[in-house]
C-alpha cells in the first residue's frame, strides 16, 4: 500500500479525531499548523494499560489515537503524548526510546506532553505504566517513521528500502555513500500514516541511544530558574484568587460576613452556596481580604487517630463489599499442623504527599471556552472535571500541564483548576490560584491508613506452609505473597475512610510489603534461620531471587553480626513489573533509642534499562522518600481537622536523615522495560524495621516506626528518629 492512500487518511480523520473532543484541529489543520511533513499516529493502544489504583471513574482506554509523532519539513521531530513529566524523567526516557528507533539524537526530539488541546487522550500518568505502555507505542511510531523515511529515499533513488540505512537523522545509501537528511526527505511532503501493529522494534541488546545515561531534558532551565511550573504561569490581565476554607471537614456554613473584605480596594468576593472566594489584583491583597472575612462553621464531631484502626476494622466488618480474595488450600488445617506460628497486626498511618509545589492553577475563559494551566497527573481527567463543573462539553476545555513540582500520586484531581475557573468566570479575567502549604496538607488527599493482619505458619525447617493476610483499607497492591506457600488466604477489605484518601507512590504496596517482609523476618528468627536464607528457601521467582542476591552481595550480607547498637535488615518485593530488594544498616543509640539509617543497598530490576542515570535517580529518591513513611511521617487529625498541616509539624526527610545509598541495577536487556517510579519505595521500611529488630529484639509493627504516638496519652514508640 502506498503511503498516500486516501482511505487510510479518511478513516484516520473520521474514527480518531473528534469524538472524544480531545482535539480542536482536524487532520488538515494539524498538518497546516505543523507545516506539513510526516505525521504518524498510533491507534489501538494496548489494552493492558489497566489502572492499578483507585477512584478513576471507570475510565477505559478509548479506541482512538494513543500518541503521534511528527517530523516537520525542517526535520524537527515532535512527539505528542498525554503523559506528563512530574520529575520522574519520562520526558527524557521516552525521547530516548523514540531517538533509538528513529536513529536521531535524543536532544533533537521535542516531547509535547500533557496538553489536552494538543495531545491524544490519556488516562493519566500513574501506576508505573508510562514505560511499559507508552514506551512501546512511541517506539512503534518511531520505527514506522523510520521505515517511511527509508521508503521516501528509496523512491527518490529508485532503490529498495532494505538496501538503505537510517542513522544520525539521515538516510544513507551505503553503495554510494550519498545521503539525505530527514528534513530533506520530508520537505514538501504531506504524509499521514496510521499504525497499529507492533513494528519490528530494535531489541534492547542492540540499543545505542536507549539504555545509555542521558541528562534530563532541558536540564539547564532547572538551574537557571527559567523552567515555568504551573504556579509560575502568568496571563495578561491576570488576577489572583483565594478560597475560604471551612474550619473542618464536612463543615456547613453557619454565618458569614464578607462586608469588611468587600470594602477593600480592588476586591471582589465570590459567593456560591458554601463556596466563598476572593479575587484581587495581587496575591497579597487576595490573602489579606480572605483574612478579613468572618465566617462561622458547624463542624460535626469526627474521628481522630485514637479511633483510627478500630474504625478501619469495624467498618470493614459491617458487610461492605470486599476486595480481591485469594484462597488456595486450607490455611486453618495447615496452621494447626505448623511447627512455627506467627500472628501479628501491623498498622500504617495516613501520610501526605506534600509535593513541594502545592496545587496551583491559572484559568482563563474566552466566551464558553476554558483554558486551565495546572499541575496534575491526569490532565484529561481534570478536563472532564472542569467540563462537568461548568456544564460545557469537554471539547471546550483545554488543560495544559507544565512540567510540575512533583506529585507522587497526590495530584490526580483538579481542585485548584475548578476553583480557579470558578473565580475566573466571576471575574471575567484570567485568575491564578496557588494553594498554601496548609491547604495542600489539609484539602488534598492522603495515602490511606491501614490495618494489616498476618497469620503464618512454617515447618521446623523453615518451609512455609500457611499464609493469611488481611488488609483493611490501605489497598490491595502487592498483597499477594511472592513466596511459595501452598495454603493461602489473602484478602483486601475496603473501608469507608475517615479521611479523604487516594493514590500514593506504589499505592498499598509499601504497606503490604512492610507487613509481609516484617512477618517473614519474624518467621526466620522463629526458625533460627538467616533472614535471607529463609526467604530464598521459600522463593522460586528467579527475578526476585536475583535482586535479593544482588543486594545481599553488594551489601556484604552476613559478613557482620548485629550488635546491641548496630544491625542489619533485608526485605524485598515485586510489583508492577519491578523487582526490588534492600539491605539496611541501622544504628540505634542504646540510651535515647534514636534510630539512624547508616547505609542502604538496593537492587532493582525492571527489564531492559532505558536510562540508567534516570533510573538510579528514581531509586535513590524512592529510598529517601520511603524513610519518611518508615520512621516519622504521619498525619495527625481529629474532629475534621488536620493537626499538623505545616512542615514545622509534619516532618519530611531532610539531608540529616539520608544514609549512604548504593543502587545496584540488574539490567535484563532480554526483558521488556517496566516502570520504575513506584516500587523502589517499598523495600526500605521493612528492611529498616528488620534491622531494628536485629538490634533490639523489638518488632516495629506500626509505620511510622520511630515517632511519638499519634494519640495523646498513649505510649510512644520506644524508638526515636
Amino acid at each position: 500500500m502506498s503511503l498516500r492512500d486516501e482511505p487510510e487518511l479518511e478513516s484516520f480523520q473520521d474514527e480518531y479525531w473528534s469524538p472524544s473532543g480531545s482535539l480542536h484541529l482536524d487532520r488538515r489543520d494539524f498538518l497546516k499548523v505543523l507545516g506539513g511533513g510526516l505525521l504518524i499516529c498510533l491507534t489501538h493502544a494496548s489494552a493492558q494499560a489497566q489502572e492499578a489504583g483507585r477512584n478513576f471513574g471507570g475510565h477505559e482506554l478509548p479506541r482512538d489515537v494513543g500518541a503521534w509523532l511528527h517530523i516537520a519539513a525542517d526535520g524537527q521531530v515532535k512527539v505528542f503524548t498525554g503523559k506528563v513529566e512530574v520529575g520522574q524523567n519520562i520526558r527524557t526516557s521516552l525521547a530516548q526510546l523514540v531517538a533509538e528507533e528513529l536513529r536521531v539524537p535524543t536532544d533533537s526530539i521535542v516531547m509535547v506532553m500533557g496538553d489536552t488541546g494538543l495531545t491524544p487522550w490519556d488516562m493519566g500518568t500513574f501506576g508505573s505504566r508510562t514505560t511499559p505502555t507508552m514506551g512501546p507505542q512511541l517506539r512503534t511510531m518511531a520505527a514506522a517513521a523510520r521505515q517511511m523515511l527509508l521508503e521516501l529515499a528509496a523512491e527518490r533513488w529508485h532503490l529498495a528500502p532494505a538496501s538503505l540505512t537510517a542513522s544520525g537523522a539521515r538516510v544513507t545509501d551505503p553503495q554510494t555513500s550519498r545521503s539525505l537528511t530527514y528534513g530533506e526527505l520530508t520537505r514538501g511532503e504531506n504524509l499521514v500514516k496510521v499504525v497499529s501493529a507492533q513494528q519490528s522494534l530494535t531489541p534492547a541488546v542492540d540499543w545505542k541511544i536507549a539504555g545509555t545515561a542521558a541528562p534530563k531534558a532541558e536540564g539547564r532551565d532547572f538551574v537557571t530558574g527559567k523552567h515555568t511550573y504551573p504556579s509560575d504561569i502568568t496571563r495578561p490581565g491576570m488576577l489572583f484568587g483565594t478560597v475560604l476554607r471551612p474550619d473542618g471537614f464536612n463543615a456547613t456554613l453557619a454565618s458569614i460576613d464578607t462586608g469588611a473584605a468587600e470594602k477593600l480596594p480592588g476586591i471582589q468576593v465570590v459567593r456560591d452556596g458554601d463556596f466563598t472566594g476572593v479575587i484581587a489584583p495581587d496575591a497579597f491583597s487576595a490573602q489579606h481580604a480572605l483574612s478579613a472575612i468572618q465566617a462561622k462553621w458547624n463542624v460535626p464531631a469526627q474521628p481522630s487517630n485514637r479511633d483510627l484502626f478500630e474504625i478501619l476494622k469495624a467498618n470493614a466488618e459491617s458487610g461492605r463489599d470486599d476486595g480481591p480474595r485469594l484462597v488456595t488450600g486450607s490455611v486453618a488445617q495447615s496452621m494447626a499442623a505448623a511447627a512455627l506460628k506467627l500472628e501479628e497486626r501491623y498498622t500504617v498511618q495516613y501520610i501526605a504527599h506534600a509535593p513541594l509545589e502545592p496545587r496551583a492553577a491559572v484559568a482563563e475563559w474566552s466566551g464558553d471556552n476554558l483554558t486551565v494551566w495546572t499541575g496534575t497527573q491526569r490532565p484529561f481527567g481534570v478536563r472532564d472535571e472542569l467540563a462537568q463543573a461548568f456544564h460545557i462539553p469537554p471539547a471546550q476545555v483545554r488543560v495544559i500541564q507544565p512540567d510540575m513540582g512533583s506529585g507522587y500520586g497526590g495530584k490526580h484531581t483538579g481542585e485548584a483548576a475548578v476553583e480557579a475557573a470558578r473565580l475566573s468566570k466571576a471575574a471575567g479575567k484570567p485568575v491564578k490560584l496557588v494553594w498554601t502549604r496548609q491547604e495542600e496538607f489539609t484539602w488534598a488527599y492522603f495515602r490511606p491508613a491501614g490495618v494489616i493482619e498476618i497469620k503464618a505458619g512454617a515447618q521446623q525447617d523453615g518451609t512455609l506452609v500457611a499464609w493469611e493476610h488481611h488488609n483493611y483499607n490501605s489497598g490491595s497492591a502487592a498483597i499477594a505473597t511472592p513466596y511459595n506457600v501452598p495454603n493461602q488466604l489473602i484478602q483486601y477489605h475496603s473501608v469507608r475512610s475517615p479521611l479523604r484518601q487516594g493514590s500514593y507512590r506504589s499505592l498499598a504496596a509499601a504497606a503490604n510489603v512492610f507487613a509481609r517482609e516484617s512477618h517473614m523476618d519474624g518467621l526466620a528468627h522463629a526458625a533460627g534461620m538467616d533472614p535471607l536464607e529463609f526467604r530464598l528457601k521459600n522463593l522460586i521467582d528467579p527475578r526476585l531471587r536475583a535482586v535479593f542476591e544482588a543486594a545481599a552481595e553488594n551489601f556484604g550480607w552476613g559478613r557482620s553480626k548485629s550488635t546491641p547498637e548496630r544491625g542489619f535488615g533485608i526485605a524485598g518485593a515485586t510489583d508492577k513489573g519491578g523487582f526490588v530488594a534492600a539491605c539496611a544498616e541501622v544504628e540505634i543509640d542504646p540510651t535515647s533509642k534514636k534510630v539512624r539509617i547508616v547505609r542502604v543497598v538496593q537492587a532493582w530490576e525492571s527489564g531492559a534499562v532505558v536510562n540508567p542515570d534516570g533510573l538510579r535517580n528514581q531509586m535513590s529518591g524512592a529510598i529517601v522518600q520511603a524513610i519518611g513513611g518508615a520512621l516519622f511521617e504521619q498525619i495527625l487529625f481529629g474532629d475534621g481537622r488536620i493537626l499538623n498541616p505545616r512542615f514545622a509539624q509534619y516532618r519530611v526527610p531532610r539531608f540529616s536523615d539520608v544514609p549512604r545509598i548504593e543502587i545496584v541495577l540488574v539490567n535484563r536487556r532480554d526483558l521488556p522495560s517496566a516502570g520504575a517510579g513506584e516500587t523502589g519505595i517499598v523495600a526500605l521500611a521493612p528492611a529498616v524495621g528488620n534491622a531494628i529488630f536485629a538490634v533490639t529484639g523489638i518488632r516495629p509493627l506500626n509505620m511510622p516506626m520511630a515517632s511519638r504516638s499519634a494519640v495523646a496519652g498513649e505510649p510512644d514508640s520506644v524508638f526515636r528518629s
Partner: protein, 157 residues
C-alpha cells in the same frame, strides 16, 4: 502601599507593594521573577531562598520593606553572559534534581555556603543544606553537586 526601589540581580526595579508583603510575593507576583519558589511560606522548606547581600535568606519571611536597601540576587541573576556559576554547573552535571522545584533554593543556599566555607566537609554541607526540603529525594546528588562545586571553585582560586 509603599513605593520601593529594589536592587535585584544588579538592576534597580521600582515596585509598589504593601511594606509587609513578603519579598517572595513581590518577586514572583509583581516582578515576575518566578524562579524563586513558594513551598511553605514559613521558612521551613527553603524553596524561596535568595541572596540578600550575599547571604542565603528566606524571602517568604522577609517583608519587602526590609529588603529595600539590600542587594538581592535570585536564581535568575546567577548566570553571567550565558555562563553558569560553579554551583549551577555542578547541579547540572550531577543531575541533582528530579522535578527541580527545590533547585533554585538549593543552589542559592549552596552558593551562600560556599562563599562562607571554601572547602566544606560532607557533614558541613549536609548541616548547611538541612533547612532545604527536596521531596523527590535527590539529596545524595545535591550533596555531591555542592561538593563538586566547591572543588570547581577551589580550582579557580
Amino acid at each position: 502601599m509603599g513605593e520601593f526601589v529594589l536592587n535585584v540581580n544588579g538592576a534597580r526595579l521600582r515596585v509598589s507593594a504593601p511594606p509587609e508583603e513578603s519579598l517572595l510575593s513581590v518577586l514572583r507576583n509583581r516582578l515576575n521573577l518566578t524562579g524563586t519558589k513558594y513551598g511553605c511560606g514559613e521558612g521551613q522548606c527553603g524553596a524561596c531562598t535568595v541572596l540578600i547581600d550575599g547571604r542565603a535568606t528566606r524571602s517568604c519571611l522577609l517583608p519587602v520593606a526590609s529588603a529595600a536597601h539590600a542587594k538581592i540576587v535570585t536564581i535568575e541573576g546567577l548566570e553571567t553572559n550565558g555562563q553558569l556559576t560553579a554551583v549551577q554547573q555542578a547541579f547540572l552535571d550531577e543531575g541533582a534534581f528530579q522535578c527541580g522545584y527545590c533547585t533554585s533554593g538549593m543552589i542559592l543556599n549552596a552558593t551562600s555556603l560556599l562563599r562562607q566555607v571554601h572547602n566544606p566537609s560532607e557533614e558541613q554541607i549536609a548541616a548547611a543544606m538541612n533547612g532545604n526540603i527536596c521531596r523527590c529525594g535527590a539529596h545524595p546528588r545535591i550533596l555531591a553537586a555542592v561538593k563538586r562545586a566547591s572543588e570547581l571553585q577551589g580550582g579557580a582560586r
